[in-house]
């Protein structure tokens, strides 16, 4: 088995990358504007629904049910997709998934495939694998296209090119497109992308997508998007290959009533995203005549085996946690050195990588101030602080011994495991003492030391961040 590409080869450990990012004032300004804008919009989109908390509870439980009965639901999905003319493939890891997609694309005579933005295919490094096999993968989401043409890395789950401003984007397009945009007006840039991609959409034979949800009972696959590039890929080519993580299921059609409310409002802060496509197998005369579904493990079953860490598999990739995270806001997504940045990246990437010797992955659970804002916005109530401290304890354990940090992390994990304990600890101001001994957080042991060495982390203020957040931004 090869290396899991969920973390980027050669990326520095988080504290080091963060140090570089912090020096980039342009990046910080872009990020601050982006995160505050989305954050404010999200708050009002959420406030519109009086039953938001009930929806979150339902979303959490539906996903827990999926994780608790994953084998049953996967088999049901396989059966229903097959019954409707689709073909289901199973992939243990990135290498296997990439091989399946490459073989399918070759079989259908494609030298180019069009792609809908997908975290799962980014996670397995599919584009690179196809390229190595002589097949060009064309990203069709505007932001992904900007990242691809700029030979860059994504920096946000939802808006991967958020670190780029319009002038930079125009430069990239001018260099890479035959019909370059005249100005750097976003309208003009979007138009250039439209022209650039339209021919490809109309002639592509094979498309590759991810999936936001798959309904076990019916075999229906759901893709949520804004630009229409998703619809183009999902309906025009003859062959559609969808790669999805095995946790992306919901048991029944009815469950979508929960997620089609939680996702858009948490993600783009809209009541509904412009386009949602749902298809089940193949429909003669309408859309692709061949449909392949690749079910991807790639570290998910290992994550499932961790009682505390498994909640990360509830994630619906809305990116709300990124936009509220004070650490992300300052460092940007690339510092995480992983396909999954921000708070969710800090707990998901190291678990998917599942490699204790990967120092960069091991540094990610430290990429957080443990303020708890991510937990409060998460539509499926993933207790990210709890998972972070749990994973930190694991990192420390892996290095051996019951040193003071291991004890502190174990204690902190116990506090985070229960929101009431957490709030009580914060009120008592005891959290920082718990984590560091008394006084300000001057130095943390490795790898936290690399973080604290570059800045003075203050001890917790009188008002907890959670309370402050509620008062100011909640």
């Amino acid at each position: 088995m090869g290396r899991n590409p969920v973390t980027w080869l050669g990326s520095p450990v988080f504290p080091k990358a963060a140090h570089t990012a912090l020096a980039d004032t342009q990046l910080r300004a872009n990020l601050r504007k982006a995160t505050t804008t989305i954050r404010d919009k999200r708050a009002s989109a959420v406030a519109e629904l009086a039953d938001w908390e009930e929806l979150r509870r339902a979303g959490e439980a539906i996903k827990d049910d999926v994780l608790a009965n994953l084998d049953t639901y996967l088999l049901r999905l396989e059966e229903s997709v097959t019954a409707r003319g689709g073909v289901v493939h199973w992939a243990r890891d990135a290498e296997e998934a990439n091989r399946i997609v490459l073989d399918l694309a070759r079989e259908h005579g494609a030298d180019e495939v069009v792609k809908v933005k997908s975290m799962a295919t980014a996670e397995i490094g599919l584009n690179e694998a196809l390229e190595a096999g002589g097949i060009r993968a064309v990203e069709t989401d505007l932001a992904e296209l900007i990242v691809q043409l700029g030979r860059d890395r994504p920096s946000h789950i939802l808006v991967p090119a958020i670190h780029r401003n319009r002038a930079e984007i125009r430069e990239i397009f001018r260099r890479e497109m035959s019909e370059a945009p005249v100005s750097d007006d976003p309208r003009e840039l979007a138009e250039a992308a439209r022209r650039h991609l339209r021919r490809k959409f109309l002639s592509a034979r094979v498309a590759v997508s991810g999936a936001n949800f798959a309904v076990a009972d019916t075999g229906s696959i759901v893709v949520v998007e804004s630009e229409g590039n998703g619809r183009m890929c999902l309906t025009l080519p003859q062959t559609l290959i969808t790669v999805m993580g095995i946790e992306k299921l919901v048991p029944s059609w009815r469950d979508l009533e929960v997620f089609l409310q939680l996702l858009p409002r948490s993600s783009t802060a809209e009541r509904m995203n412009p386009y949602t496509s749902v298809w089940t197998g193949v429909t003669p005369g309408d859309g692709p005549s061949r449909f392949h579904l690749v079910l991807l493990d790639n570290g998910r079953t290992a994550t499932l085996a961790d009682e505390v860490g498994r909640q990360a598999l509830r994630c619906i990739r809305c990116s709300a946690c990124l936009n509220v995270c004070p650490v992300y806001e300052r460092t940007g997504g690339q510092a995480y050195g992983s396909v999954y940045p921000g708070p969710i990246g800090a707990i998901l990437a190291p678990q998917l990588a599942d490699d204790p010797s990967d120092e960069q992955a091991a540094s990610l659970p430290y990429a957080s101030s443990l303020c708890g804002a991510c937990y409060e916005v998460c539509p499926v109530r993933i207790n990210i602080p709890q998972a972070l401290t749990h994973l930190r304890a694991k990192v420390v354990r892996n290095k051996g011994g019951r040193n003071p940090e291991a004890l502190a992390m174990a204690a902190a994990a116990w506090v985070f495991a229960d929101p009431r304990r957490f709030e009580a600890a914060q009120r008592a101001g005891s959290l920082s003492r718990l984590l560091t001994g008394a006084g300000p957080i001057g130095r943390l042991p490795w790898p936290g030391s690399k973080w604290t060495a570059t800045r003075d982390a203050p001890s917790l203020p009188k008002e907890s961040f959670r309370l402050w957040w509620r008062r100011n931004r909640g």
Binding site: L74, T140, E227, Y275, D286, G287
Partner: protein
Amino acid sequence: MGSAREEILARIRAAGAARPVTVPREYRRERRVADPVALFAERIADYRAVVRSGPVELIGECLGARGVRTMVVPADVPAHWRVSGVRWLVDDDPPLELSVVDGVDGVLTGCAVAIAETGTIVLDAGQAQGRRLLSLVPDYHLCVVRTDQIEVTVAQALSRLDPLRPLTFISGPSATSDIELDRVEGVHGPRTLEVLIVDG
């Protein structure tokens, strides 16, 4: 080494996550509002769709106002929707070539269900809707929504839909906010969505 399928299933079983879970469904599935039609009109207009209401004959006015010449329609739209003054291309059997659909000024369809709370129309390839690409490739989409097709909540709308049909949920025209978070309408789908609400 066994098959990937067997191995993944075995790993899941070995992970020891199995336990019963009850899903709390205390959220509201239905909601009453005084005027669902007005709410739908307001919400879809929020997404910069052009909204009109009135008799179906307004189709002529919608098209005239845009100077539209050639429109594509699914074969089963009501005959009187095909008002005079424009050239109608009918997507029948055999279906129109993709290049033809790419060359028209717009498309006229009905819908299956609409959602007032979110300002969404849903097409299910049923009556008056045709294949999915018809409402995607042309730059202008005129959609006729009957008032009896409008549901208030997402849950109410989903319960009216058949998941085995290909479904497209549309909330406003295609849009992107990828460049400095400035919203731009019309990236790859139709740049203009016009909704005509008719009594029914």
